[in-house]
């Protein structure tokens, strides 16, 4: 295992230094040791940069997202772009949209804004709701815990995609769609985080240092803030890193179904949606958003996996198939002792913080 070897090697040099490295620095060092995660991080940084600089990039190209260029599409064949690869030229770097002739490069860079903003916003909302409700359930009395846990269960098990569709359909059209998407995804998919936080709080509550804080006269919220929250950072960050790509996919999926971001606002999912009617005539138009989405989600997934390994090196990588997975295989197969069927059904035998996998893969649009 290269990560550990690396940490060990670096630990050797550290022994000379007097102060032990802080938690954040240690995590960063472990993350740095994973090449795949770093590559993922670099791709993410690039996309964020593109999204931030979208107006600049479009200005350099000299195009915008909404202007029609009727002269660049072949009206005789129904609007297929003229020229190779969907009309690539010096003034239209990635070609134009079939039918309308809108510039694809501008639409793609602006589209990355929508995809990233919606995903980030939804993730922040999910984390806030999840941590708050998980803390309340873990710290509250039996009644509160029971109530919140039932509500959480409903949110974890319900078909989120269907609810998202229904919610998106009933909100008036005037409401800004990206904000709406953010809210819908955020409000529907916080259950996993709440479950993990609650389980973690229940474990922590029984530890001596937390009890000592309570005995020292701290109220529950002071204890939560000073003793519990720092210990929750690692699992919550891990889970959030996994939620992000699944939110990107959800936004794309809903926009793909035609109920997310609507034209003329560009988003990758929306472009894919209109591209799916053009794939017979103009394959470049399909490939661009598809490849971009694929690369982004892949980068986020690899990066999230690296973050997870860096925060908790005892757990082998989720994506690595080596022998490190033995222990988890045991949990999956439920081969130790008797297991309740509910636990088996949810694929989660122990509410172990290290296993956010089963719940996390349930993206809202996970088919």
């Amino acid at each position: 295992m290269t990560v550990e070897a690396l940490s060990a090697a670096e630990g050797g040099t550290d022994a000379v230094a007097s102060a032990p490295p802080s938690g954040a620095r240690q995590v960063w060092r472990r993350l740095r040791g994973q090449r795949a995660a770093l590559a993922g991080g670099a791709v993410i940084a690039l996309f964020v940069l593109v999204a931030v600089a979208a107006p600049l990039l479009a200005a350099i190209e000299g195009q915008d997202t909404t202007s029609y260029h009727a002269g660049l599409v072949d009206s005789a064949s129904g609007g297929v772009p003229l020229g190779t690869f969907g009309g690539v030229s010096g003034s239209h770097w990635l070609g134009v949209e079939p039918g309308t002739g809108r510039d694809l490069f501008a639409r793609l860079v602006y589209g990355s804004r929508i995809s990233l903003i919606v995903a980030f916003g939804a993730t922040v909302l999910q984390v806030l709701l999840g941590v708050l409700l998980g803390l309340a359930a873990g710290l509250g009395n039996r009644f509160l815990d029971g109530l919140l846990s039932r509500i959480t269960d409903v949110f974890v098990t319900m078909p989120a995609l269907i609810f998202a569709i229904a919610l998106l359909a009933v909100v008036p059209d005037g409401f800004p769609r990206p904000v709406l998407l953010m809210l819908v995804l955020g409000l529907l998919a916080w259950g996993g985080i709440a479950k993990i936080v609650r389980a973690q709080v229940l474990t922590l509550k029984s530890l001596d240092y937390v009890a000592a804080s309570r005995l020292g006269g701290s109220g529950p919220w002071r204890t939560a803030r000073r003793e519990l929250l720092p210990a929750l950072v690692a699992p919550v960050v891990t889970y959030a890193a996994i939620l992000l790509p699944s939110n990107i996919v959800s936004e794309a999926g809903l926009s793909f179904l035609g109920i997310g971001v609507t034209p003329p606002t560009p988003s990758w999912g929306q472009m894919l949606s209109s591209a799916s009617t053009w794939y017979q005539a103009d394959s470049a138009y399909v490939l661009l958003p598809a490849v971009l989405l694929f690369v982004t989600v892949l980068a986020f997934t690899v990066f999230a996996d690296g973050v997870r390994t860096a925060l908790d090196p005892r757990v082998a990588s989720r994506l690595r198939v080596g022998t490190g997975r033995r222990k988890q295989a045991k949990a999956d197969a439920g081969s130790s002792g008797t297991v309740s069927p509910e636990a088996v059904a949810s694929g989660k035998v122990s509410p172990d913080v290290a296993e956010p996998e089963t719940a996390s893969r349930k993206a809202v649009t996970g088919e």
Partner: protein
């Protein structure tokens, strides 16, 4: 066992009623007039008022909801002004748009959804379990790397991207397959399979990665158990150990998981059905939501929810049958 099933059934009923109530409330609060939808664009105000009365839309929302619930148990009669339309016992109401019974509509859409779900399951089991077993039995860097890559790509690719790329490659570029249009199984089995092949593949590739991983870890776990060591010590051949003894234990979680996933698929592979133009429940749901045809939406969601709940229970029972250590309580 019976107690377990009864309890599960009760839980399921509660969840489904809550689901329906929430949906009803959502659409009730939403702008838009069902009577106008039912009547069409050419209606005048008087006609709309009349239709509102006939459809019971002037009742408070809880009365409407109660009529809906009692209709499921006892059936319902709708007056259409001149004659009466009888809706037999599991009555889910009638479409605002077409006036068709929701149960009839669901019955028409179900075969396509079922075709998609079962076909995809067969494929993902073959691909996933095959890859998983292969990499568990031939442990080496090459298979492990392949499986890692496969898992990574499967995790990161949403089904609509896999699907659209498959369409692009096989229909547009290579032209090996026709552009898919659904043909019912009863009409022409060969055309049915041919047209659905890419949709199955798109769903299966995404799912198979999960199954490959599960099969692999489960197989390795089983092979490491004591009873297998004992078989080895007795001199049982490696092939017999794997096929006759290890597979049973190793595939238990796989079977349970596929029951669950089949339920979810039945719950409508909305994206796949939309992309491949398969006239199933998912496609109908998306269309009905867009025109706010409440009875159809609620009916389809209930059927989908039922499928998921039933699949959950089946998975639990299968698990208990295959592994005696699991206790149903």
């Amino acid at each position: 066992m019976t107690r377990f099933l009864l309890r599960r059934l009760f839980q399921a009923a509660v969840v489904l009623v809550v689901l329906a109530a929430v949906l009803y409330a959502c659409f009730y609060l939403a702008p838009g007039d069902a009577a106008r939808l039912a009547c069409g664009p050419k209606c005048n105000t008087a006609q709309i008022t009349q239709i509102r009365g006939q459809m019971g839309l002037d009742d408070p929302v809880y009365v409407q909801f109660w009529h809906f619930l009692s209709g499921i148990v006892a059936g319902h009669d709708y007056s259409t002004g001149t004659d009466v339309l009888h809706c037999p016992a599991p009555c889910l109401g009638q479409s605002y748009r077409t006036g068709e019974l929701v149960t009839t509509m669901i019955g028409q859409k179900l075969p396509a959804t079922a075709s998609l779900a079962f076909g995809a399951m067969v494929l993902w089991l073959v691909i996933g379990v095959g890859t998983g077993l292969l990499s568990a039995l031939r442990r080496g860097t090459v298979t492990e790397r392949l499986l890692t890559g496969f898992t990574l790509v499967g995790t990161a690719t949403p089904v609509f991207i896999t699907g659209i790329l498959l369409l692009l490659v096989f229909c547009s570029w290579l032209q090996w397959l026709p552009y898919p249009s659904y043909v019912p199984l009863t009409e022409d089995p060969q055309q049915w399979a041919w047209n659905l092949l890419l949709a199955w593949l798109a769903l299966a590739l995404v799912e198979a990665a999960k199954y490959a991983r599960l099969t692999r870890s489960s197989m390795l776990e089983t092979l490491a158990e004591d009873h297998i060591r004992t078989f080895r010590a007795y001199g049982v051949g490696e092939r017999a150990i794997v096929v006759r003894h290890a597979l049973r234990g190793a595939l238990t979680p796989v079977i349970a998981l596929s029951a669950l996933d089949l339920g979810t698929m039945f719950g409508g592979a909305l994206l796949t059905e939309t992309l491949f133009n398969i006239p199933g429940l998912g496609q109908q749901l998306v269309q009905s939501v867009q025109i706010k045809d409440v009875p159809v939406v609620v009916g389809i969601v209930l059927v989908m929810g039922l499928a998921v709940v039933v699949a959950n229970a089946v998975a639990d029972v299968l698990y208990a049958v295959a592994d005696r250590r699991v206790v149903l309580a």
